[in-house]
Symmetry: C2
Subunit: 136 residues, 2 copies
DNA sequence: TGTACTGTAATAATAAAAGTTACAGTATGA
DNA sequence: TCATACTGTAACTTTTATTATTACAGTACA
């Protein structure tokens, strides 16, 4: 999975949790994370597609949570961010003339799927509001 | 985690399982995986440090499993391969002037640790010999 | 209608991963 | 004992992925 983007997304959501009902600009968010505002806007786009945040264009626009923080789970953030599969599905092109090489990607895929299900179950137990309690 | 390396290591171990008691050269292994023999030797070095394989130098040298395939677990392979943490520990340098930025890495770390424990538990249920049964 | 935003494309800079070459070291066995 | 077939590892190059930057059109507000 894409390492830094999960952290960025959780960071964004945490900041938005601490200012629920306010529209926060990408520049403000980028200031706390210490990254470029354009990256923040890209992540917000992701989170928006998944229904986790809302954004408003124009002056006094910005972003806020799309639903209460106790209804947002870390598994959703993981899903929003994930592109590649957990352990790296089928990146190699094994030799098809070898019985192991010919089949290994399929078998690795099913191993990965199981592992990822477990991971999602674990992340699904932690809500954004629980995570944010740690800051108090 | 490092995507392709897990697949390479499992591939290596699978090939060694199907020829237990034989010393296989890095070139042979590289042929099935379809990668460079030097990369294979690097992975073998990793697996060797973790006690999963043995290697023999010199003519008619090569590598083989260090213990029976039913005593090797996918969690061990994961540990052997892992360098970075699962979801990417502390890559960002958040703004320490922001209360969220100042603490978030610690809180993310504990989230990651829990998630990784779950993942390891899941991978720990699958032995190399079980994995290899899929090929029959 | 100027201003402060978003959204997104295009590009550049940086970092990480993979591949390659090279070669010293080591057992083997002819 | 010495050519051979390996390992182990360093140094380097290439490739690919990530991150950052610049730029600008579109939008809403006051």
């Amino acid at each position: 999975m894409n390492s830094g983007r999960f952290a960025i997304s959780v960071h964004i959501l945490t900041l938005l949790t601490f200012s629920e009902d306010e529209w926060k600009s990408s520049e403000y968010l980028a200031g706390s994370i210490n990254i470029n505002p354009v990256l923040v806007r890209k992540e917000l786009g992701n989170l928006r597609e998944r229904g986790l945040v809302l954004s408003k264009e124009g002056k006094s626009g910005g972003s806020r949570l799309a639903k209460p923080a106790d209804q947002i789970f870390m598994s959703e953030v993981y899903e929003a961010v994930k592109q590649k599969d957990l352990l790296g599905k089928g990146i190699n092109s094994p030799n098809p003339a070898c019985p192991v090489g010919r089949m290994i990607n399929d078998h690795l895929d099913s191993l990965y799927d199981d592992a990822e299900k477990t991971l999602l179950a674990s992340l699904g137990k932690v809500s954004l509001s629980e995570f944010c309690k740690k800051f108090d």
